[in-house]
């Protein structure tokens, strides 16, 4: 034992600073993320499947299999990222920096859209804007006698709007957390020296918020390119395909190898775009501005535009949260999906089996799985929120402190990959890799452990991105001083980084929890019959055409998600200075 300390001491100085940390993190993300994806890659390289590459890239099929879906996907990704940053950033600024009334309400509403499944938002869109192209019942606007053109009912425009309405809350969450850390002394100093609002914004606020803006844009981009529900519902009637709908279709009709090739190309192309975007926007400098000190500045006084801005903010929130939620709830009560607001009944919630309704399906609260599914789902969400946050923090910390070098670059790229992989492909990769025993380790297929590992890996990008936006601003000076006085890595992490970065981490943990709560695509292949989760229950109902039951389960998921957010808000009220006056 006596020899250990000097040895450790020597090692500490012999190894270049941070290398062991970097290698450790690299191994972790390598095993969790790169491993399964390499496994998919190797499946496409087998002799009997290698032809899939030429089919996809270089054949008469390529145009519709790859190029057209790819360009649609990129247009959507870039457009949605821009839209989300504008809307999310605007709302974050309104809530955090200004004296607009009802800040707390706007702040809460702006975090909700992400919890509403994107198919519900898409459904809400079509119940308003649907035209007669697909026959059946037309939407609200056509019922009023307005002719809705195809481009507003189907295809790129509605998909773009629905995805922006869904993902802007990610950008909001991240940017709001960053804005709240703007050093008030700087703002106050600028105000006292007579700087105009625009100048304060461009000179102080924007630079501080930039890492968060990049994070928000990246998250929205990745969400948009891998989203399946919205383009499937709104794009198909005009034959608009994205990479995600193509991938799903290929797997669904048994052409798995081609599906995997599409997934790999989606990852490669998106990774390039994200890398390029990050480089252009944030490659120039780093921002370390908070030192854990400084009180709140006076809020910007909006003066005469106070009420108009309130109206704009509230309208955005109402359209993206209240309308979809109302449609969702209504469709869990209405017997006919074509008349959402008539003949409401609680049968789909409470009713006992009645042979004349829905083939005798009893209400969801009679489903024997509802209790166990809820328990499994919530515990999975909690466990993954914790494991994910820890892993995310390690990665974010490593990247923030050692931002240059090959290893950091590789970690950065790998940590972002899962976002680009549609969940079903990630689930398939996990089964391929961990389904069979590896050496001394037993097969994990069908275990809760596998779900936790897969969920943790799949959601790393969220915790890393949100954590990083805050962590980058924890001054390196504090950390440096602690290191010089002999504090070890974990001590520094727990005494300095964690407390200062807690808000960003909490935000990340909520996002992870919510994402796991409602995520279907990842778990659909991983769970075994005896341990269902809520989203799988909802999917089972929906796939059998029992829409009302599916929506009722979705409402349950929504209620749990909102409760989680409210609880988290309450727990961290103390650390939410932007909501105080």
């Amino acid at each position: 034992m006596a020899n250990m300390t000097p040895l450790a001491e020597r090692l500490r100085y012999a190894i270049p600073q941070g290398l062991s940390l970097k290698i450790g993190v690299l191994l972790a993300v390598g095993a969790l993320i790169a491993g399964p994806l390499l496994r998919i890659l190797s499946e496409t390289l087998a002799p009997q499947t290698i032809a899939a590459w030429s089919d996809v890239v270089l054949s008469p099929l390529s145009r519709n299999l790859l190029w057209v879906p790819l360009s649609n996907t990129l247009v959507l990704g870039i457009g949605v990222a821009g839209g989300c940053v504008l809307i999310g950033g605007f709302l974050a600024w309104l809530v955090v920096m200004t004296d607009v009334p009802f800040r707390r309400t706007i702040g809460l509403l702006a975090t909700l859209p992400f919890m509403i499944p994107s198919f519900a938002t898409a459904l809400a869109w079509s119940s308003l804007f649907r035209n007669s192209r697909v026959g059946g019942q037309t939407g609200f606007l056509e019922a009023l006698g307005l002719a809705v053109p195809d481009w507003l009912s189907w295809g790129m425009v509605p998909t773009f709007i629905v995805l922006t309405a869904h993902y802007y809350s990610l950008a909001f969450t991240v940017i709001a957390a960053a804005l709240a850390t703007v050093n008030s002394d700087l703002v106050e100093a600028a105000q006292m020296t007579g700087a105009k609002r625009g100048r304060i914004f461009a000179g102080i606020i924007l630079p501080v918020a930039l890492p968060a803006i990049v994070s928000g844009a990246s998250l929205s981009f990745a969400g948009a390119v891998s989203n399946f529900a919205a383009p499937a519902l709104l794009g198909l009637p005009v034959r608009m395909q994205t990479m995600a709908t193509r991938l799903f279709g290929m797997i669904e009709i048994g052409q798995t190898a081609r599906g995997y090739v599409i997934a790999i190309l989606l990852i490669v192309v998106s990774a390039f775009f994200l890398w390029f975007g990050n480089k252009v926007i944030s490659g120039r400098q780093s921002y370390a501005t908070i030192t854990g000190k400084g009180g709140r500045a006076k809020r910007f006084e909006l003066g005469p535009v106070r009420l108009p801005l309130l109206a704009i903010g509230m309208t955005i929130c109402a359209l993206t949260t209240i309308v979809p939620v109302v449609v969702l709830i209504a469709s869990s009560l209405a017997p006919s999906s074509s008349a959402l607001f008539s003949n409401w009944t609680l049968h789909y919630w409470l009713g006992t089996s009645n042979p004349s309704i829905a083939h005798g399906q009893a209400g969801v609260l009679h489903n024997p799985f509802i209790v166990s599914a809820t328990a499994t789902t919530v515990s999975l969400g909690l466990v993954v929120a914790i494991t994910g946050s820890i892993l995310g923090l390690m990665v974010a910390f490593t990247l923030a402190r050692y931002r240059t070098g090959l290893v950091s670059g590789v970690i950065n790229q790998i940590a972002f990959l899962p976002l680009l992989v549609p969940g079903i492909a990630f689930g398939a990769a996990y089964i391929a890799l961990f389904g069979a025993p590896i050496g001394p380790f037993p097969a994990l297929y069908g275990t809760f452990t596998l779900l936790v590992i897969a969920g943790t890996a799949y959601l790393v990008p969220f915790s890393v991105q949100t954590g990083r936006a805050v962590i980058q601003q924890v001054s390196g000076d504090l950390e440096e001083s602690a290191r010089l006085t002999g504090a070890g890595f974990f001590r520094r992490l727990s005494a300095i980084t964690m407390p200062l970065a807690s808000r960003g981490l909490a935000a990340g943990a909520i996002i992870i929890f919510v994402k796991i709560m409602r995520d279907l695509s990842l778990v659909v292949l991983l769970f075994t019959p005896t341990t269902p989760v809520l989203s799988v229950l909802a999917y089972r109902y929906a796939s059998e055409g029992f829409t009302q039951f599916a929506n009722a389960i979705t409402v349950v998921i929504l209620v749990i998600s909102i409760a989680a957010t409210l609880l988290a808000n309450r727990l961290q009220t103390k650390s939410q200075p932007w909501l105080k006056n």
Binding site: L61, V134, G135, P237, Q255, I357, A436, A443, S543, G545
Partner: protein, 373 residues
């Protein structure tokens, strides 16, 4: 002999007897299987339809002491699961109840993940095609349907080639065949039946069909013309049903969907009706298959469950078959009569798919459609 020794020797004898038992199980009647199944105590059924929940209740009422665990998963998911479980060495499923026959034969039967089983009492009650290579329990459909409220005098279409005329431009709806296997099978059938399609063309337009450059068969020409005529693709059969069936439409589209969805007309406010008098056919009819999972953990209970799902000897198949005795689903058993509200099977004009033939050209047809989109 101590109790322990008795137990051990019994267990050893049981092990020795295992292979013989497994072979015998196939020949046993339900009465003979019952005590063995009760010893096993449980049976897990992977099912592509949620109606397994109703079967579960009926099965447990008939055979108390045996717990039927129904697990509802799409055919694609079942295949992925069975593969993963086999790789992990887990035998979770006992019975597989699955559609998508063309894929099932190559992905599951040929790879040994499932095994065929026909209950002995069925041997005289099923035509050969429904016993081999796998047991078929019933037949489902993807056929041309129309809105009967807007067309009180019957179907507005009497020939498939009608759908390529201008008046049906943008007014034919179906699920994207590159997202759902059964719709791809429908497209494949048009190609397999190219001769009939060519004859139907001549009947409709009075001249022989002319094929575009690069198009080799009348069936492919039909698919090409259908896409050129702006066919509307949606993502689920319920979207098709709502598009065609919703009441109060002045000029509703027609489209391909499941005949049995007509049973939801009242609940959903639809007016779906099947177009049966269509030249050369109104679509496809295909089997729902029952098989044993390889290495089923509960072999006797698995066979008993399959036996139960095939229905009893009454005219409508009794409790086991009740969830499937609806208009638009057809029993494969010759002694179960067609549902009174449905077109009788012998008069139904849909083509019966031959899974092996479908599997052969499935990918080529998918590629053709991919280019058309």
């Amino acid at each position: 002999m101590t109790l322990k020794q008795v137990l051990l020797s019994t267990a050893a004898a049981g092990l020795l007897a295992m292979p013989a038992v497994a072979q015998d199980l196939d020949a046993m009647s339900a009465q003979e299987l019952l005590p063995l199944a009760q010893e096993e105590g449980t049976v897990t059924v992977y099912s592509f339809t949620s109606r397994i929940a109703a079967v579960e209740a009926a099965f447990e009422a008939r055979y108390p002491g045996i717990d039927l665990v129904g697990y509802d998963a799409s055919s694609t998911e079942q295949i992925a699961r069975l593969r993963a479980e086999s790789a992990a060495g887990i035998a979770s499923a006992d019975v597989v109840y699955i559609s998508d026959a063309p894929v099932v034969l190559s992905e599951l039967l040929e790879t040994g993940l499932i095994e065929a089983y026909v209950p002995p009492r069925m041997s005289d009650l099923l035509p050969k095609e429904f016993k081999s290579p796998l047991l078929a329990q019933r037949l489902s459909t993807k056929v041309l349907m129309y809105n009967e409220e807007a067309n009180p005098d019957g179907a507005p279409v009497d020939n498939l080639w009608d759908l390529t005329r201008d008046e049906w431009s943008g007014r034919v709806v179906m699920v994207d065949p590159l997202q759902r296997g059964d719709y791809l099978d429908l497209m494949v059938e048009f190609v397999l039946r190219s001769e009939e399609m060519a004859a139907a063309y001549e009947a409709e337009f009075g001249v022989p069909v002319t094929l575009d450059p690069g198009v080799e068969k009348a069936g492919i020409q039909f698919i090409t013309d259908l896409f050129a005529n702006d066919i509307v693709l949606v993502s689920s059969t319920d979207d098709v049903n709502a598009a065609i069936g919703s009441m109060g439409q002045s000029n509703p589209p027609v489209g391909f969907t499941s005949y049995s969805d007509r049973r939801d007309n009242e609940d959903e406010g639809w007016a779906l009706q099947v177009a049966n008098d269509v030249t050369p056919s109104n679509g496809i009819i295909f089997p729902a298959l029952l098989a044993l999972a390889a290495d089923a953990g509960h072999p006797a209970a698995a066979r008993l469950a399959i036996d139960f799902l095939m229905g009893d000897d009454s005219e409508t198949g009794g409790d086991g078959f009740a969830p499937f005795y609806v208009a638009g689903d057809y029993a494969t058993r010759t002694d179960i009569v067609s549902h009174p509200d449905a077109v009788p099977l012998k008069d139904f004009s849909a083509w019966r798919i031959v899974p092996a033939a479908t599997a052969e050209i499935r990918q080529d047809v998918a590629d053709t459609i991919l280019i058309l989109q």
